[in-house]
């Protein structure tokens, strides 16, 4: 391979990796959102996002224009997330981790089967709001949807960042998650903060789903392949850092592509294992991730 070709290939792989990585980042943001707000890893996040995307699809099929359906889905997802927290999670709010993990796994299965039951398992194409023609930077080509997706992900990141850092509501939510007892003492309605957290996370999950579906096609198992990468992204970046989730996602995407291209004995056949290895290594070496807060346990 000529030198220019080699460089071009490398850059193209990195760029493709960033595009795929933004898919992971989108779902990882929703995971981080829930963790920041409620201290829980929601194993059902991917399935909830998928289900929200189906709701959007149903609206589109009924003739609602794209942006109307998009916004409608956000509202429904928000309400749905809120409701789930109040109805399903609230009874076990103070329960040990195992209970909550079990319940989120239960939610995972319920959403997955409901989607299959109601909408059938046939793969459906899902429209993208971005133009079809790709964008070219010299020799490097990037799909418009990929570019749009990166943009949307960054926009969501900006929203979350500003929300948590600079708004009183965001501060209240973080306080409620980290120290519910003290928060109640200062008058924060902890219960509703948690519900809000779930609602927002569900909403961002819906955005992720609607961005991902045009690429991977809408089907009940669509998030199956993406979940592990989203977990890897959130772990790498730190479950407590939205910026970390995005950086983590982009890193995972690029690393997968580069390893797949240049490390032939792993190639493309062990991508999931690479993600698994990343998760385990990060958890062992620096569990709080690149950007996360370290948690100190007081005895």
């Amino acid at each position: 391979m000529s030198c220019k070709l080699a460089v071009d290939t490398f850059i193209q792989q990195v760029v493709s990796g960033l595009a795929t990585g933004s898919i992971y980042a989108a779902l990882a943001l929703a995971l981080v959102m829930i963790y920041e707000a409620t201290d829980v890893v929601n194993f059902a996040q991917g399935e909830m996002a998928m289900f929200a995307t189906y709701i959007c699809w149903a609206m589109l099929s009924a003739g609602v224009p794209y942006w109307g359906a998009f916004c409608g889905t956000l509202v429904i997802a928000f309400a749905g997330g809120l409701l789930i927290e109040r109805v399903v999670i609230r009874p076990v709010e103070n329960a040990p981790i195992l209970t909550i993990v079990i319940i989120t796994i239960g939610l995972l299965e319920i959403f997955n089967s409901l989607a299959g039951w109601i909408f059938s398992y046939v793969q459906k194409p899902f429209p993208s709001p971005f133009p079809k023609e790709p964008v070219r930077f010299g020799e490097i080509v990037l799909g418009s949807h990929d570019l749009g997706q990166i943009g949307v992900t960054l926009a969501v990141l900006a929203c979350i960042f500003v929300f948590f850092r600079f708004t009183p509501l965001g501060l209240a939510m973080r306080a409620a998650a980290q120290n519910p007892v003290s928060s109640r003492l200062v008058g924060i309605r902890v219960g509703w903060m948690l519900a809000l957290g779930w609602g927002l996370a569900a909403m961002f999950g819906a955005v992720a789903g609607m961005m991902i579906a045009p690429i991977v096609f809408l089907e009940p198992n669509m998030m199956g392949g993406i979940q592990i990468y989203a977990f890897a992204a959130a772990t790498l970046g730190g479950f407590t850092s939205p910026v970390g989730a995005v950086v983590g996602g982009l890193i995972v995407g690029v690393v997968e592509n580069l390893v797949g291209t240049y490390v032939s004995f792993i190639g493309t056949e062990l991508k999931l294992t690479v993600a698994l290895a990343m998760i385990i290594i990060v958890l062992l070496v620096k569990p709080s991730g690149l950007f996360g807060r370290a948690v100190v346990r007081r005895v």
Binding site: V40, V41, F43, V88, P91, V92, A95, P96, I97, L98, T99, V101, I102, I103, I105, G106, L107, L108, E109, I110, F111, N112, S113, L114, G116, W117, G224, Q227, I228, F231, A232, T235, E269, L270, K271, L272, T273, A275, L276, I279, I280, L283, L284, P287, V299
Partner: protein, 331 residues
């Protein structure tokens, strides 16, 4: 856990179990064999998650290792199936112990995350080592027939094999949990700091528990390879790990009998649910998980225990019996 009358109930159950091969059709026996195999796997997972509090969402991986270990030994080295089962147990013990070491540093949620990812990656890993595992084609095995010319057909023989291994597993588990070891394991779940302060070697016990738990599940996997006579990566995906979790929750966390109830639930509910709707089985599983956590956190075993207590109350010595230490607060 010495409830009065429990040994009698157990003996009667075993007697019935031994009589079944001469009463039921081969197909039913095949189903019961699968139930017993599940029960062994559930015992393993319960040991780790129910009694020791380490959440594993990836036990399907150990089931797969056990199954493939047995299959490869039988297929490539011609090892008689009888030896592959304990061998699989040993291999999985090592694998579990090794996994348990780094797992020591992972608390609750992070361990769940790591094991969940392990489960997701397992089928791909199995396919990668194609030379050993046969890749996505899997390995076809021969179904064994009864040895020493016993007058049993293959299904009856496999049934007894699974039953014997299950009884051994139950007995071992009960003994393990009854003594000091059991108390240490449970103490590590309920109050790890206090346990360590009392001198319990947390690292050793937790890793050993992981190993034993993996060994149980691996033995179940090996048995299933023998009984089904086929292994393929598709049999060992994330749904298997989730199913095992469902089994211990429904059967009863931190309960030995729970493994059996859970196994029956896991095997027969999809059979029945199919008639309602094809998507129904997993929806039912999901709903069961949530409802059991709310209303029956001790699972079916807990409910049975409560009923048994109520029946025995008239004869009780009024010593304010409380649930046995192993069936402690989960929720």
């Amino acid at each position: 856990m010495a409830r009065r009358g429990a040994p009698v109930v157990a003996l009667v159950a075993v007697a019935i179990a031994c009589a079944l091969p001469f009463l039921l059709s081969n197909f039913r026996l095949f189903q019961f064999t699968q139930v017993y195999i599940y029960a062994i796997a559930l015992l393993g997972l319960n040991l780790l998650t129910g009694y020791n509090g380490q959440i594993s969402l990836g036990h399907g991986a150990f089931y797969a290792i056990g199954a493939y270990a047995a299959a490869i030994m039988m297929d490539q080295w011609g090892v008689p199936y009888g030896w592959t089962i304990p061998a699989a147990g040993l291999i999985c013990f090592a694998a579990g112990f090794l996994f348990g070491l780094p797992a020591l540093r992972l608390e609750g949620l992070y361990l769940a995350l790591a094991t969940f990812s392990l489960a997701l990656a397992t089928p791909q890993i199995l396919k990668y080592f194609e030379h050993w595992t046969g890749g996505s084609q899997g390995i076809v095995l021969a179904k064994p027939s009864a040895p020493f010319g016993l007058p049993l057909n293959p299904d009856q023989w496999l049934y007894f094999l699974a039953l014997v291994v299950l009884l051994a597993a139950l007995w071992l588990a009960a003994n393990l949990l009854r003594g000091r070891v059991g108390r240490a394991i449970v103490a590590l779940r309920d109050n790890p700091i206090a346990a360590r302060a009392m001198g319990v070697n947390s690292a050793l016990y937790k890793s050993l528990t992981f190993g034993v738990s993996a060994a149980y599940t691996g033995i179940a996997g090996a048995l299933s390879a023998v009984a089904i006579a086929y292994v393929a990566p598709d049999s060992f995906n994330i749904f298997l790990s989730i199913a095992l979790l469902i089994g211990i929750v429904v059967g009863g966390l931190a309960s030995i009998a729970g493994a059996i109830y859970g196994a029956f639930f896991l095997h027969f509910v999809p059979n029945w649910a199919q008639d309602i709707s094809k998507a129904a089985p997993w929806a039912i599983f999901g709903v069961s998980l949530i409802l059991f956590m709310y209303f029956m956190p001790y699972g079916i075993a807990g409910a049975v225990h409560r009923i048994a207590q109520r029946l025995q109350r008239p004869q009780s010595t009024g010593d304010g019996r409380e649930p046995p230490p192993s069936v402690r607060t989960i929720a």
